[in-house]
Amino acid sequence: MDYKRDIPLAITFLVGVIAIGDYYTGIQAVTDTFNIIKNWGIVLQGFALGLGAVNLFRVHGKRISARKEGTDWIFSVVLLVMLAVHVVIGLITGQYEQGETYNWLYNSIYLPISSTMYSSLAFYMAYGAYKVLRARNFDAALLFITAVLVIIGNTPMFPAIYPGFFHMREWIFGPIVSGAYRGVRIGIGIGAVVLGIKTLIGMETGYLGRR
């Protein structure tokens, strides 16, 4: 027995079965055990949140110590400095993200960059619509038709001129989206359940990493 693989697989199975048992059996002992597992899971998730930062230190620390031409190592310095400053400010006061300084920094740095980066895809959508969105064949035309009709329905000017555009948009979201996405959702559900079962019984072991 390879205890370094088999015991984790057993843990996955046991914990998963208890979670499923809580839902399907209603046995109080199982529910009580699952409550403990839930609470433990929340604390563990808290520990897991730091993994990304540790990896960043490793990767960018190596880049800084190598200082190779063309690797933007100076920006790695920026990254680690910002990381360290924010962690210190967040933890030192004991107020975590509720601290005044942390909040100030969040509203000045994180919020504007995050919301801008998330939304600047709008430019690429417009550019993509200009360069690439073509009704080249029947399949592309189908996608094109509903995309255009929904954009027209979503643009307040057109329904203001003719309300039928909005009703057309609502209708597309009715039977067409409902029907197709119901099929997609069933497919997703089956796929997720099959993958979950394979994970629990040890057929999917990717999460264990390398040997």
């Binding site: 609470n39 949140l49 920026v78 910002m82 504007p112 329905g153 997609v184």
Partner: protein, 207 residues
Amino acid sequence: MVTMDPQIWLAAFFTIAATSYAFRDNAVFKFAEYTFIGVAAAHQIVMGVKNIRDYGWTKIMEGQIIYVVVFVLGIMLYARFHRDYYWMYRFPIAFLVGNGVGISIRAAIHSDFIVQVSETARTPLIAGDAMGTINAIITFVGAVTAIFHFIFTQEKLHVGAVGWIPKIGRWMMLLAFGASFGNTVMSRFGMYQGRVVFLLREWLQVI
């Protein structure tokens, strides 16, 4: 009158820096990008520590010493960065994966499969009016043919006369994806307009 608030100026700088990539890659954008990654990771650490304190440490302080085991498991997560002790990481991750998988698949069977199939089966195809009937038929056909499209293990389903069923499913999904694209355009522009309104209202104070 442009604001004198340094917080707004800093936010405006980073907004413009992040937008600049749309025009071309540049050092100012890279500065904003790397800053963001660092700050995002820092925020995760801060919230992680707070989470551990609120849901782990307080339990130990209340006398539930068993939570020390959870702390040990949590620290073992960081063994993944060690070449020799990497395997220790598997124990807590197995716990998290088992928990996550168990919690989600137990309900996915119900919500994503049973309820969806039963709704498809029990919705009458003949409604009170012509439009309702057409809508019900389109919904039913869309759902059933889309499911058929995903049956890849039976090649015979995709050829011949029967092959029309998954083909219609693909067409229905393309129509639906077009609607999704249309909504995505609105979504992205809706997000970006918030930043522009911020620049005009709070930074430049012209609206």
